[in-house]
């Protein structure tokens, strides 16, 4: 954090330098469980069925909705830095939600479930 009154001169915008804004904790901002981690930030796409769609939209905010499908289901995006908490959250929807992307997060959920079925 830089105090603007301590800038000695004007700030220059460097148009040839681009960056990705990091996912960091900001005081006063509520962080979701899947953001409580030091892992590399991944943008996940999750399909949620119509009956549960209003709740997820309300919870994440309309800005998280990437797609509204004709059947009422929605595709939401979530920035994930804690994969375990993300998996746990998605599984609370049981078979009414599905991780669409990225492939490794989807595979993580599938492997977790396969392990549980195999253990029975």
């Amino acid at each position: 954090v830089f105090r603007l009154d301590r800038f000695d001169g004007p700030a220059e915008v460097l148009h040839d330098r681009r960056f990705e804004r990091p996912t960091v904790a900001v005081p006063g901002v509520r962080l979701e469980p899947w953001q409580l981690g030091e892992g590399e930030a991944t943008r996940a796409r999750v399909l949620v069925d119509a009956p549960q769609a209003p709740w997820i939209v309300q919870h994440l905010g309309p800005g998280a909705v990437e797609e509204e499908r004709p059947d009422g289901s929605v595709v939401v995006t979530m920035t994930v830095t804690n994969r375990e908490n993300f998996r746990s959250f998605v599984l609370t929807f049981l078979d009414h939600a599905e991780v669409l992307a990225p492939a490794d997060l989807r595979a993580d959920v599938v492997a977790w479930l396969e392990d549980q079925v195999a253990a029975a």
């Binding site: 209003p54 709740w55 599984l91 049981l94 599905e98 599938v110 479930l113 079925v117």
Partner: protein
């Protein structure tokens, strides 16, 4: 060790311990080496638990957690001395928001029965409120949980006007969305969320609804008549009755949060930090969620209903089928 009826609590939750430490720390610091016996007696804490607390206290401090930033606990013989790290001696600098939060919390405590209107808390609140330019008795608007536009207002109107309300509700426990008519009794706040208390005509019983799961609410013309005993009934917590089927789980140490999150009838500590717990299951999807989230960190060892014993595996198979079909 059991936590059943009449038995003492078997385990100490993290919140219990924090609450106890917050009371014990200033008292020890303000006295010149009280004995373990005196502290145990004053706070009603067994000596063994007190020593465990003091061990935790030695690791309390602020970053970078070097020795000079940790609380210093000295136990000599039977006496305890406590010295705050230097950082605690610095004047406390609060932002206006932090100060206001402190005034609100303090004013709420002052509202409890038995609070001393002229005690140290009241005096400190008065000084802090003076600096902030607020009146501690002023009402403060607190925003709890997100609710859909118009829903909270409709429910409050229905309560105030004593009119029945039709709600479109997602029942998380049962994993189903239903439309039901409710005689609303009150809209209450609990642990950061709004709830509607009322008589549900679909369930034919009193129910508690989380307002953030109400998709839509329509106030109807039907008037609500309340019997004289209903206010008393509302004041009582809604608990899982004895008719609700029970399940016994064994959970890994990493799943200890379950015992602090859900009402459990009984907890037994096992080897390796595992715990056996017995809890009621009002709706199967609730147990399915819990089990698929815990994976191998939980196993069902007994269930009143055989279907509950297979709930986790069944749900995992169902979810897998969805992934494999797409």
């Amino acid at each position: 060790v059991s936590r059943g009826q009449g038995a003492p609590p078997a385990r100490t939750s993290a919140s219990d311990r924090v609450a106890r430490l917050l009371a014990v720390i200033p008292w020890i610091a303000a006295h010149d080496g009280p004995t373990l016996g005196e502290i145990s007696e004053r706070f009603g804490v067994p000596r063994r638990k007190l020593l465990e607390d003091l061990e935790v206290l030695m690791m309390v401090g602020v970053p970078p957690y070097t020795p000079d930033t940790l609380i210093d606990v000295t136990i000599e013989g039977d006496r305890v001395w406590l010295r705050f790290a230097d950082v605690f001696a610095r004047p406390l600098h609060l932002t206006p928001e932090q100060g206001l939060a402190l005034v609100v919390a303090g004013a709420a405590s002052q509202g409890l029965p038995g609070a001393d209107d002229t005690g140290p808390l009241a005096t400190a609140l008065g000084k802090l409120a003076g600096v902030l330019g607020v009146d501690p008795a002023e009402a403060v608007s607190v925003t709890l949980g997100e609710t859909r536009p118009g829903v909270l207002e409709a429910l409050r109107t229905a309560v105030a006007d004593r009119r029945r309300v039709r709600i479109d509700y997602y029942a998380y426990g049962r994993d189903e969305r239903t439309t039901r008519e409710v005689d609303p009794h009150a809209v209450v706040a609990h642990q950061g969320a709004w709830y509607l208390r009322g008589y549900c005509h679909m369930a034919r019983d009193r129910r508690l609804f989380r307002v953030d799961r109400v998709v839509d609410a329509v106030v109807l013309d039907s008037a609500v008549e309340r019997g004289p005993d209903e206010a008393d009934a509302d004041a009582a917590p809604i608990e899982l009755g004895p008719d609700v089927p029970r399940v016994t789980l064994e959970v890994a140490p990493s799943a200890a949060w379950v015992t602090e999150t859900y009402p459990v009838d009984e907890v037994t500590e096992l080897e390796g930090g595992w715990m056996r717990l017995r809890l009621g299951v009002a709706a199967t999807p609730w147990l399915e969620r819990l089990l698929v989230r815990l994976g191998r960190d939980a196993r069902v060892v007994a269930a009143d209903d055989p279907a509950l014993a297979a709930a986790g595996t069944s749900a995992a198979g169902r979810i897998l089928a969805r992934y494999r079909s797409s």
